[in-house]
């Protein structure tokens, strides 16, 4: 957070600040997905749907109904949670079936964004979003937005990191590691899976609201199924199961992809190469790399003592 304040005061370049803002939104998305995929072990391919639901909920609430953005954020999270509840009907399906069901869910929601024109305005999108947080209090400068986002990211990070490191988190990890064993010690697997999906969905909704008001418009394009895949690649690159990994993975990959925007047509190729690279050389992602480095340092220390 302190680093964020420093960055906000020091960095004057609008380009760099807006780059950072984009990255932070993806950090929120990746953190939420990490809870579902990396911690609970449920391969969701529909995360972008909740991201989109949040964006539209917030955009509609603030433009059409003139509500302040705070209410938009809350509605974004509420609707995304509702959407997740719908998707969580599929939790009893396992493995590949769950993955396919969530993929289908994501595709359907995306079609709704495109085709439900009276509400979403279809491909024309909803434009002119304001950043009126509450009353007359607005966040118009990119630096201000950056600070606000940094605060939100910190809050989400602390929330999810603590949640992962607790009785609740252990239950989720137990489900990831071995459902049968988890049930055999009294863990209600279905309930915990649903909770994990709802929490992940709510954070995606939050990210949706953040992105909508960052770009001040909402179109269906960023919420397709491929975005779910990109998010998945981010957490794999960061290290499955690791919250810091998810944050760093999303941050770095978004920075890179935004920075090389001019070569956008190659981005999927680049993602593909990244995933292959990590699968082969660093199956535990950046978090794994970090552990390796720490170990090297410790070894180095020990050698020095000897």
């Amino acid at each position: 957070m302190i680093a964020a304040v420093l960055v906000a005061t020091l960095v004057q370049s609008r380009f760099i600040i807006s780059l950072l803002n984009y990255s932070l939104v993806y950090v929120i998305l990746a953190l939420g997905l990490q809870l579902i995929v990396g911690v609970t072990g449920q391969l969701s391919l529909g995360h972008a749907a909740f991201y989109g639901i949040g964006a539209y909920a917030s955009a509609i609430a603030t433009t059409r109904f003139g509500m302040p953005w705070v209410v938009g954020i809350l509605l974004a999270m509420a609707f995304a949670t509702l959407g997740s509840l719908l998707m969580s009907l599929t939790v009893r399906t396992r493995g590949i079936y769950f993955a396919v069901a969530t993929l289908a869910f994501g595709i359907i929601i995306h079609l709704v964004f495109v085709n439900w024109v009276p509400v979403t305005r279809g491909t024309m999108g909803i434009l002119g979003l304001e950043r009126r947080l509450w009353g007359q209090w607005r966040i118009d400068s990119p630096q201000g937005y950056f600070l606000f986002l940094a605060f939100v990211v910190c809050a989400v990070y602390v929330f999810l990191a603590r949640l992962t490191d607790s009785r609740f988190g252990r239950a989720l990890k137990a489900i990831r590691e071995n459902e049968l064993a988890a049930q055999s010690i009294g863990i209600d697997v279905t309930r915990y899976k649903i909770k994990s999906i709802l929490i992940g969905g709510a954070t995606a909704g939050l990210a949706g609201s953040m992105m909508a008001h960052l770009t001040r418009m909402v179109t269906p394009e960023p919420f397709g199924w491929w975005k779910s895949i990109v998010l998945l690649i981010m957490i794999v690159a960061g290290g499955l199961g690791s919250m810091p990994g998810a944050a760093v993975g999303a941050f770095v990959l978004t920075l890179l992809s935004e920075y090389f925007r001019g070569y956008a047509e190659y981005s999927m190729l680049a993602y593909g190469l990244i995933i292959v690279f990590f699968m082969i050389y660093l199956p535990e992602g950046l978090a794994g790399l970090w552990h390796i480095i720490i170990q090297k340092v410790r070894w180095g220390g020990r050698r020095a003592v000897w």
Binding site: S166, R167, F168, K173, A174, E177, N178, L180, G186, I187
Partner: protein
């Protein structure tokens, strides 16, 4: 008092009758052996008792309640806890974390108390950690606390299973071949542990090592081709012609 009453439990896979009307009553505090040749249906019986499989017919009463239709976790919540013949570790967890997970149902902390780190939550975590450490000391895994479950050798995997089950504070503990793959010295140590556990917990022990069963159990039930063919003290079982017959293919029972 009977803690478990299985009556007429039958199960078939396709055309294969694996259990034929098995009736078994366990009394509180017992350490009962369940033996039988390979493929007799012992593991299948465990799977039915714990809800992993559903019986084709028959009734299961646990602690005076008909639990036949309960899902696995609800049976566990009533105190019916098992270990697995093929260890089912939480591979990516540390030994301590896995054992702490075993205490899951004794605590309440959910989302908000975990995130806010309320005092109650911190006390619960502290207690769970202490309990898990105590159990690990008890089964002899204290020095492996921080090892990754996946990295334990076979013998320690068995102890890890037992530790997780004990952390769940069973009222009835079902052990499926807990000494398989253990060295003689490890078996001796485990026998001591089981006797100690039995002071507070009823145990149903599936075991192939006759020396272990005969020395631990006061009563033994024998399953053969899905049928309970005998029940009695170790001496009675060793003398029973039906039991000897059932085991002939595998060589006589060693004493």
């Amino acid at each position: 008092m009977a803690i478990l009453e299985a009556a007429g439990v039958s199960k078939s896979f396709g055309g294969l009758m694996v259990l034929r009307g098995v009736s078994l009553t366990l009394h509180e505090g017992e350490l009962r052996g369940l033996i039988g040749p390979n493929g007799a249906g012992k593991t299948t019986f465990f799977n039915i008792l714990t809800g992993v499989l559903s019986a084709d017919s028959g009734r299961i009463n646990f602690d005076g309640q008909d639990i036949g239709s309960y899902p696995i976790h609800q049976r566990a919540r009533r105190g019916l806890i098992r270990t697995f013949q093929i260890p089912q570790p939480f591979s990516g967890m540390t030994v301590l974390e896995s054992t702490m997970t075993g205490t899951h149902m004794y605590y309440r902390a959910e989302v908000w108390s975990s995130v806010l780190r309320t005092r109650k939550e911190r006390e619960e975590e502290e207690e769970a950690r202490a309990k898990a450490k105590e159990i690990l000391r008890f089964v002899g895994l204290a020095d492996r606390e921080n090892a990754l479950c996946a990295n334990l050798p076979v013998g320690e995997q068995r102890l890890l299973e037992l530790a997780r089950a004990l952390a769940a504070q069973p009222r009835l503990l079902l052990l499926d071949e807990p000494t398989a793959g253990l060295r003689a010295s490890e078996k001796e140590a485990l026998k001591e542990v089981l006797l100690e556990v039995n002071k507070k917990t009823t145990i149903l022990l599936v075991e192939h090592d006759m020396r272990v069963v005969m020395s631990l159990c006061s009563r033994i039930s024998v399953l053969s081709y899905g049928e309970l063919i005998a029940e009695g003290t170790p001496e009675e079982i060793q003398r029973d012609p039906k039991v000897i017959q059932a085991y002939l293919g595998e060589g006589a029972i060693a004493t």
